[in-house]
Amino acid sequence: MQAYIIRRLIQGLGVLLVMSFVIYGLIGLMPGDPIDMMIQADPNLSTADAARLRALHGLDRPIVERYWTWLGAALAGDFGYSRQFARPVLDVLLPRLGNTLLLMGVSFVLAIAIALPLGVAAARRPRSLADQAINLLCFAGISVPAFWLALLLIMLFAVTLGVLPAGGMAPAGMQNPGLLDRLPYLVLPVLTLTLASVAGLTRFLRASLIEAMREDYIRTARAKGAGETRVLWRHGLRNALIPVVTVMALDFGTLFSGALITETMFAYAGMGKLIYDAIMNNDYNLALVGLLFATLVTLTANLAADILYARLDPRISYR
């Protein structure tokens, strides 16, 4: 197991390295370059100045060479400056990461708390009225565009009812808002993200539980006289949860995409919105490191899924 984890960690680092090169290359292919923007900002800049600046920032060198320079600096902990914020990239990124993890974490827990009883209720009697109703809701849940759902929630709660803010992080002008001040601003983003992920989870849980309830050990449990509730929760669900845990962890990547949409819709200052804004505003350093962070989060979640899987199911052994 230990050897396996170490191998996976090395693999993960490899993926991260490859991704950093790919993203670095892609970002170089986006419209506009930093020097063009400096020229736009300062009309007194001459062609010679531009060429000098280009050389100064190393932009006249081939991309692989520039990448090596960037990588060297990054490994030494220097990720460069954000153009939008005029601050080191990490200083901008880390507080936002906290905001996103808060949003994702709360939604994640809520989604599980809703999906668990729904999935069990549906799987308890397949094809029953309850099952069909839950199934229908799940289909609706996986088919609704998250940004439209956010729009509908804003229209209902912020425009029509006027009970919740349409977006933002805290009351305007407030310094260092506490969690309680931020609570109303969290409700709609969390609701959107939860609703977007609960349907898939419920469907998967239901399928997995129905599968598990057909196993021999369920018949054994019934034969030895265990009550139906005990059979369902202790014998069925515990086994059904094993693949569900994996899916949940794998879903973290999807959740991150969801967070990007949600944060953008609600002007929530998180990583997703930060990455989106960085890409749209040609803030290359920030976009690059942000994307790498997002990849890191997903890869970590994937590894956690595999480790959990082995922990929960003694039949699995990794070499």
Binding site: M30, R127, S143, V144, W148, I210, G253, F256, L291, L299
Partner: protein, 312 residues
């Protein structure tokens, strides 16, 4: 034995159709999608019949409520909402179908080759598919959609073309969407290539290409069909997000997602503008999902949960 002695002989495709018909939601979805596609295709005809112009801006008739002239009212530039929705449907449905088919084609070829040839080739391809799946997809798609076509070295004729955004989004979605089909087809190929009829074909001296195309692919077609149907819905969702964020279909061509970008700023003045396109995306996607579900039940009755007999 005469055919009359058999009480009822049914061809497999009839059997599939029969089972499909029992899935009422799937049948209703098929009808809905057909109607939507027909209406979208007939958009120019409807435009002429109503005596309107979908692009015509009328600043005196902004935010008009529904009327005999404008069945769903007008938008912030006084354009007819119904016609814009129909033209938007053409874009959304076109992108959804073409991108899903492209992704399925790539996935089928990759899956067939990986499953049939196996070995290191298989390992590399599947690792790649795993890698693609484990990436934060949306941010990366945004980067891909934001690339500068001129810097990519595309000729000016293409880089300046109006439909570039349309083909770019199809290309991007196909680029990341092939993995599901690839895994599916690979799995099917792995089990099919051990079957007797493949062995027989090998013994007869059939080439690998022929075996994959003539013997394995036809037997794997039903899961491919189901997966592709389901992915049309996902593609439409993805396209709508990218277009909504301003990175997908560029104006004046307006997909449903792009229509919502403008509508977002109008939710105080005219909330209905934000309802219609989203509702159409939702209905189309859910219909494709029901359709895929129905097809799955029809092709593989064993995969469904037993209605009775289960003692849960």
């Amino acid at each position: 034995m005469s055919a009359a002695a058999i009480p009822e002989s049914v061809s497999p495709s009839r059997l599939v159709w029969r089972r499909f018909r029992r899935h009422h939601l799937a049948v209703a979805s098929l009808v809905l999608l057909t109607l939507l596609a027909l209406a979208a295709l007939a958009a120019p005809l409807i435009e002429r019949a109503l005596g309107l112009d979908a692009e015509a801006v009328n600043l005196f008739g902004r935010f008009a409520p529904a009327s005999a002239d404008h069945w769903l009212g007008t938008d912030e530039l006084g354009r007819d909402v119904l016609l814009r929705l129909l033209y938007g449907g053409r874009v959304s449905l076109f992108v959804g179908l073409v991108a899903a088919l492209a992704a399925a084609s790539i996935g089928t070829v990759v899956g067939l080759v990986a499953g049939y040839i196996g070995g290191r080739f298989d390992a590399v391809l599947m690792r790649l598919a795993d890698g693609v799946l484990s990436l934060p997809m949306l941010p990366l798609l945004i980067v891909l959609a934001a690339l500068d076509p001129v810097k990519l070295g595309l000729p000016d004729a293409i880089a300046q073309s109006e439909s570039l955004s349309l083909y770019r989004i199809i290309f991007i979605i196909a680029l990341v969407g092939w993995t599901t089909t690839a895994r599916l087809v690979r799995g099917a190929t792995l089990s099919l290539r051990e079957r007797a009829f493949v062995e027989a074909a090998v013994a007869q001296g059939a080439s690998s290409l022929r075996i994959m195309a003539r013997h394995i692919l036809p037997n794997a077609i039903s899961p491919i069909l189901v997966a592709t149907t389901l992915s049309v819905g996902n593609v439409i969702l993805l396209e709508s997000v990218l277009s909504f964020l301003g990175l997908g279909i560029q104006p004046p061509v307006a997909s449903w997602g792009a229509m919502l970008t403008n509508a977002q700023e109008m939710i105080w003045e005219q909330p209905l503008l934000a309802i219609y396109p989203g509702l159409l995306i939702f209905l189309t996607v859910i219909a494709f999902n029901f359709l895929g579900d129905g097809l799955q039940d029809a092709f593989d009755p064993r995969s469904t949960v037993p209605g009775r007999g289960g003692s849960l």
